[in-house]
Structures are given as structure tokens and as C-alpha cells.
């Protein structure tokens, strides 16, 4: 049908996933028996029928050119009958039924500049670090306090062995959000990289009343630091109350926050979402501020390496970062990682009271 004649289509929804499943998946849907990781990056899944699929897991930078997606489609056609899937952490899972095709596929992936890994073997307590969930940063966002892709690239280059091999005692999920808005919802990660601002918004009252709604701008402030300014019909910011979250800027473009020196990165540790052993937990502040140092962010990369290595050395099998800290105590976490504990680590927001220590049980 020519483009002019076709009726305008809406509300038809995503494609039916059943049309996109490999025949062997369709056949064994809901009848999988067990899985095992036969080598880093390769998972064998066995169905009750005896059918077997091999999943080859490939890391990607999330940001992909269409030509790269076509190359991925080529690989899927050559090795997987044209079927594949993505994981929630941007890895491609190639779905193979022929074991002999695993090696040639991995060879082509590596020749294409991509990497295979990101798996874990719970049975043998050997875990890899998988891809870093992240946000847009300077690639495409208007509120970021740091970039996203560049830091992820720099950290993954540094931790590449942890991706390709499985040498950690437990999962270590790393996530990055480039501002407190947290599109990446990093707040329950083993290690969260979070962009922060440290300066109050610059209020541009000469244009604010024209482009922003004052009541919703006032309401956007978690600490009630913003109030209407009758003189300009704009707003005033009580800078002593501002904790630089940037929510006002999200509501009102006349209150920009970005500042090359004020902005930077904070690191948070010990969160998880699974229920395995201990329950889900929030990440807690480890490093309050590291500067934005593009293109390679050496301070951030170095701090993460130190945390990962200290954890890997000290943790028991199956012990997540937060569970390890729970066991050794926060005193020891700061001591062993060499990270300084500061007044910034003591909470002062709505749920602060529950984070303060009530016991005299200390480790010295």
C-alpha cells in the first residue's frame, strides 16, 4: 500500500513474542529442566524432552549502529536459525542448537570486536561481572551530572577479566545513573555509580515565568527550598536547604544545574534485588564525590577496582558485597578499602533515623 493511502495505525501493541521464539524454545516452553554453565559465556539449557540449547552471551555497549545490528542478525542467521534475544543488561544471547557451532560463533564475535562472557555458575560458586546497566549521560540527556557510556566503557575495560572469566565469589551487579533522577534505578546495585551535582540551580527569573509553572516548580523540591518570588513572578532558592538533586531543573528549564567543576560521581555499595539468602537491599554511600575526568575517569575506575578486589579477596562463597559488609562491619569495609568515612556519609534525609547506630557494638 502506498504511504499516502494506508490508514493511520495506532494501539496495535508490540509484536506477539510467540512469533519470535526459536522452534526449540516454542516446543519446550515451560518445560526446561536445568541449566549449567559449560564455560564462561556459554550456558547449556536442557529440557525435559532431552532437547538442548546453548546460549552464547555477548556483551554490547548498548549504543549500537544499525549496521552492527545487521551484523548481529547475520550471526543469528548463520549460527542460530535467525533467532536471538537480549538480556535486561544489554547482552545478546545467541540461541544455538548445534554444539559444534559455539567455537566458530565466538571466533566471529571476537573478530568483530565484541566479547563473550557475563555468566555465572552458582553450582560451583564462580561468578562473572556482567554488563553495566546505564543511562544516556552526555549522549542524549538534558539533566546529567556526568556521562554514562564513557564511564561504563572505562570501567568495563578495567574489569574485562571479570566479564570474560568467572572469578568472583558471588554476583556483583554494577549500575550507573548519570543523575539522581535515576533512569537506571541503580539504588539496589552491588556497586552503583551515580552522577551528582554539588551546586544549587542558577535561577533565571527573567525567563522563568514564561517557560515554567511556578507551583509545580515549588512542589518539585524535596527539601522545600524553593518558594515563589513575587517581585519577578519567578522563584527564589534557599541555597542552604538545597541538596542539588536537580528535580527542579527537570520541571523547569530556567533553573540549570550543570557545572563542569560542581558535577561529578558518587559510588554506592551493597545493594541487591534478589531474595537469595538475604532480602533485597538499598546501596549505601561509599564515595561521596569523584570529579568528572573525561575521557577515562581514572579516579572512578580506580575506586571501583579497589572495591571489587577487596571484596573478592574477603568474601565467602555466594556472599554478595552487601552480605560481606554485613558480616565484617562497615568499620572494616572503610578500613580495608581505604575509603575515607566523612560527614557526607551520615544521612540527613527523610529516612535518616533508621540509618543511625543505636548500639555500642563496634569493631575497632
Amino acid at each position: 500500500m502506498s504511504e499516502e493511502k494506508r490508514p493511520y495505525k495506532t494501539d496495535f501493541g508490540p509484536p506477539d513474542y510467540r512469533l519470535l521464539l526459536h522452534p526449540v524454545i516454542k516446543k519446550n516452553y515451560g518445560k526446561w529442566k536445568y541449566h549449567e554453565v559449560i564455560r564462561p559465556g556459554v550456558i547449556k539449557r536442557v529440557a525435559e524432552s532431552g532437547d538442548v540449547v546453548y546460549i552464547v552471551k555477548m556483551g554490547t555497549p548498548r549504543l549500537l549502529a544499525t549496521d552492527t545490528i545487521r551484523w548481529i542478525a547475520d550471526l543469528a542467521e548463520k549460527y542460530c536459525d535467525g533467532y536471538l534475544r537480549w538480556t535486561s543488561r544489554y547482552n545478546v544471547e545467541f540461541i544455538l542448537t548445534d554444539e559444534s557451532k559455539i567455537d566458530p560463533l565466538i571466533k566471529e564475535i571476537e573478530e568483530g570486536g565484541f566479547v563473550v562472557g557475563g555468566t555465572w555458575d552458582a553450582t560451583h560458586a564462580k561468578y562473572g561481572i556482567t554488563n553495566i546497566v546505564h543511562t544516556q549521560g552526555w549522549i542524549h540527556c538534558h539533566t546529567p551530572a556526568t556521562d554514562a557510556s564513557g564511564i561504563v566503557k572505562s570501567v568495563m575495560d578495567e574489569l574485562i577479566d571479570y566479564f570474560k572469566e568467572m572469578k568472583l565469589p558471588a554476583f556483583c551487579r554494577i549500575s550507573l545513573a548519570c543523575c539522581l533522577n535515576m533512569c537506571g534505578a541503580v539504588h539496589c546495585s552491588d556497586i552503583a555509580i551515580l552522577g551528582i551535582h554539588r551546586l544549587p540551580p542558577v535561577v533565571k527569573n527573567e525567563k522563568l515565568p514564561k517557560i515554567c509553572e511556578v507551583p509545580s516548580t515549588v512542589a518539585s523540591c524535596p527539601t522545600l527550598a524553593i518558594r515563589p518570588d513575587p517581585k519577578t513572578k519567578g522563584v527564589q532558592v534557599n541555597e542552604e536547604r538545597c541538596m542539588y538533586c536537580g528535580n527542579c531543573y527537570t520541571m523547569c528549564p530556567a533553573m540549570p544545574m550543570a557545572d563542569p567543576e560542581g558535577d561529578g560521581i558518587s559510588l554506592w555499595v551493597g545493594g541487591k534485588v534478589s531474595n537469595a539468602r538475604s532480602g533485597p537491599a538499598f546501596s549505601k554511600l561509599a564515595v561521596p564525590f569523584l570529579p568528572n575526568t573525561p575521557p577515562r575517569w581514572p579516579e572512578t575506575v580506580g575506586a571501583i577496582r579497589k572495591i571489587v578486589e577487596t571484596y573478592a579477596e574477603g568474601a565467602n562463597k555466594h556472599e554478595r558485597l552487601g552480605e560481606w559488609i554485613e558480616r565484617i562491619g562497615w568499620e572494616k569495609f572503610f578500613e580495608r578499602t581505604g575509603i575515607e568515612f566523612t560527614d557526607k556519609h551520615i544521612d540527613d534525609f527523610t529516612l535518616a533515623q533508621v540509618t543511625l547506630r543505636n548500639t555500642s557494638q563496634f569493631r575497632w
Binding site: P15, W32, T68, T123, W138, H187, H318
Partner: protein, 410 residues
């Protein structure tokens, strides 16, 4: 000399490079080329050069397109308008190569040739589309052999997300793909037309491992679980014992059980589970997948209120219904969602998430409204709390007082 000396540094190293991807697109697309140049500028200035969006949408929809403009349009004219289109991914992120190629062909025709597979909520992100190309691009996607629709954004139902579920995973305690696809199709209007105080997310994980982080990220989190006994294959346990040794089974399975409800007999090489004390955490099943499986009486826990920090702090979802059966077409859950949205819409402030509203007015008011205004009776259950309240500030309603009178008068 290179135009992008800073970004060139990020082409080095073993991890696949996003800069290489942008350069690949830039070689044949002037939008991608300006994007590359602008990103170098961001790296130099250590700040973003993207501006607020304003309202940009396709006809008939209020969500799914994120307006984006560059703050230096004279210097970077091809990214002056450079919007994001969110495309509702196939449930579970399953694709055929044909479906992928078709999307790429449409995108090369209208946009930058750059994508995210995938965005944080799970959509396919088409990164960088001029305003006038939005509608034809959408309609070309709509008329593909496997058509793709636009996802959510703004104060609407965001694109619902599922783990791979029973398609590939033996742990799935319900059909996450069927459930999420059904919700997505049922609530197309809510997904495309922002009408609420703020965003609302639905995510489903098939087991308590919660691979899509539903509990941390969704206002309505559905986590698979079971009620009866863990299924044990003692022969497979023996195989694991022979492979790992009895000591590792004792130390890494039995001793790491959070409720210590397991016993291992090194002589018989058998595992014994006191299921009445099992809290279904998944540790032993993750560890011994050939030998242990979730029980047969399967369903899901429904938790509500999860969200990231803004404005009232981050919340993890909390239990609303400890166990529900998950049967297609999920009428009870649809009814519950409609009631939740109506109550939240009536009572929520502008940009107040569902969980924040409950925090402001109290869980009891929410439960009372569900029962009295919507006919959904969710009785208080000890599984809703970590522990009972520690303060005596209890709200007693007139009905409570009447009820007490009746009960104690005798």
C-alpha cells in the same frame, strides 16, 4: 588531525566501544556525524549540550517520544532536533533477524542510525529523529511484516517488562511473557496517553531471583513464587555430592540457608528440607538446579510502590498480596490495576508516585478504599510487614469502634 581526540581514547581497550558505533553511523549519516562532534564538545566542556524537550509526539499519542534539542544548533545543525522514539520491545526481548533488519531499514531511512538495545525500561530506543520524520517513521514501523508500536513515556503506563520466564528458564513460577504481553495489550490506551499524576511501571520476574529488578523499579512488581514443597531429586543430589563433595554441600547449601531449614546426611547423601520453615529464597535451587526445583503450587507475590529516589527517597516495593494464582487472562489483576489507577488519580498530587501517595496517607487508607470503593477486599496479612508497628498512633474509624462495641458488649 582527528576531530574527536577525546572520544578516540574510548575506542581503545577490550570492551566494545560506543564511540566506534557512533563513528560507524556517522560515516553515512550527517545526523550521527553531528552527534559525534557534539559529544566531543560535551567531553571537552564536561557538561551536556542537550536541552529540555517540550511536547513532541506523534498523532494520537501523548507518550513515547522524548523531545530533545541541542543548545548549539548553529554549530551542530543536524542535531538541532534530535528526538528519541521509544519502541515497545517484544516481550522478553526475543527477536528474529528479520524483525531486527526491518527496524534498521526504517530507522536508516528517517533517523540517525543510532539505537539503544535497550533503554532502562526495556524499550528499543531510536536515538535522534527530526520532528517531521517522527510520524512517517512510526507508520513505517507500524506497517512492517512484524509491526512495532511505540512505548510509554511521561505520566503514563511505561512499557511493561518481563524476564525470559518459561521460554528459557526452569525457575519460572508463572508465565511472565504471557502475563506482560496480556497487560501490554489490555492497557494500550494507558500506555500511549499520559493521564495520571506520574509514571506507573509494571514488571514481572518469574522467581524470587527477580532478574528484571521488579522490586526496585516497578510500582507494581509481580514476583513468581510457590507455596508447597521444593521438589527434590535425591539421585541428582547424590551426583552433586559426588562432584562437589559433602563438605561443600554442607557449607555452601545447608549453612547458607537463611532459615536453616535444611539438613544434609553425608552417609545417605540426601538432603532434607523442612518446608514449613523455607522462605523460598532460591539459594539452594540456584545452587543445585538439577536436584531442586520450585514446588508445584505456583503463583506470584504482588508488591507495590517501588521507585527510585525522587522525591520522597527510593522505595523497594512492599507486599500487597503474598500469593496469587497467575491464570490467563488475569482478570483479577486487571481489576486491581484499574482500581489502583483510579484511586491514585483521585488522590495523588502532581508527580506523586503511587508508592509516595500510600506513604503520605497510609497503607490502611489504601486498603480501605480498595475494599469500600472498588470491592477489592485485601485482608491484612502478617506477610505484608517485616514486623508490626512500633508506635501507638493507630487510626480507629467509627466502624472499628462499632465493631469493638459489638464484640466486647457481651
Amino acid at each position: 588531525m582527528s576531530e574527536t581526540p577525546l572520544l578516540d581514547e574510548l575506542e581503545k581497550g577490550p570492551w566494545p566501544s560506543f564511540v566506534r558505533e557512533i563513528k560507524k553511523a556517522a560515516a553515512k549519516n550527517e545526523m550521527a556525524r553531528d552527534h559525534l562532534r557534539l559529544l566531543e564538545r560535551c567531553y571537552k566542556d564536561k557538561r551536556t549540550h542537550w536541552k529540555h524537550g517540550g511536547i513532541v509526539a506523534v498523532r494520537g499519542y501523548g507518550g513515547g517520544v522524548i523531545g530533545r534539542y541541542c543548545d548549539l544548533p548553529e554549530e551542530y545543525p543536524h542535531v538541532a532536533e534530535y528526538h528519541t522514539i521509544r519502541i515497545n520491545m517484544p516481550t522478553g526481548w526475543f527477536y528474529t533477524s528479520k524483525a531486527l533488519r526491518d527496524i534498521c531499514d526504517v530507522w536508516d531511512k528517517y533517523g540517525s542510525g543510532l539505537t539503544n538495545f535497550h533503554g532502562s525500561t526495556g524499550d528499543i530506543i531510536l536515538l535522534g529523529c527530526p520532528t517531521k520524520a517522527l510520524e512517517p517513521c512510526f507508520q513505517d514501523l507500524a506497517y512492517l511484516e512484524i509491526p512495532f508500536d511505540i512505548g510509554g513515556s511521561g505520566s503514563d503506563l511505561r512499557t511493561p517488562t518481563a524476564c525470559m520466564g518459561p521460554a528459557l528458564c526452569e525457575f519460572a513460577c508463572f508465565d511472565t511473557l504471557d502475563f506482560i504481553y496480556e497487560m501490554t495489550m489490555e492497557f494500550q490506551n494507558e500506555l500511549h496517553r499520559p493521564m495520571w499524576p506520574y509514571k506507573f511501571k509494571i514488571k514481572a520476574s518469574g522467581c524470587p531471583n527477580d532478574c528484571v529488578a521488579a522490586k526496585a523499579r516497578a510500582d507494581f512488581s509481580v514476583i513468581g513464587t510457590w507455596k508447597d514443597e521444593i521438589q527434590i531429586d535425591q539421585e541428582a543430589v547424590k551426583e552433586y555430592v559426588n562432584e562437589l563433595g559433602a563438605e561443600r554441600i554442607q557449607k555452601e547449601v545447608v549453612e547458607l540457608c537463611p532459615t536453616k531449614c535444611m539438613k544434609f546426611d553425608p552417609n545417605t547423601k540426601e538432603l532434607e528440607i523442612d518446608n514449613s520453615n523455607c522462605v523460598r529464597c532460591m539459594h539452594c535451587i540456584n545452587k543445585l538446579p538439577k536436584a531442586l526445583r520450585p514446588g508445584k503450587e505456583r503463583g506470584a507475590t504482588i508488591l507495590i510502590g517501588g521507585k527510585a529516589t525522587f522525591v520522597d527517597s527510593a522505595f523497594l516495593s512492599w507486599v500487597l498480596l503474598p500469593f496469587v494464582e497467575m491464570k490467563h487472562p488475569y482478570d483479577y489483576i486487571k481489576e486491581l490495576l484499574r482500581a489502583i489507577w483510579d484511586w491514585w488519580d483521585e488522590n495523588g498530587k502532581f508527580r506523586e508516585r503511587f508508592g509516595e501517595l500510600i506513604r503520605r496517607v497510609g497503607m490502611w487508607r489504601f486498603l480501605k478504599a480498595m475494599k469500600e470503593e472498588y470491592g477489592i477486599d485485601i485482608p491484612a496479612d502478617v506477610r505484608m510487614v517485616e514486623y508490626p508497628r512500633t508506635n501507638p498512633f493507630v487510626f480507629w474509624t467509627p466502624e472499628d469502634r462499632e465493631e469493638a462495641k459489638r464484640r466486647w458488649r457481651k
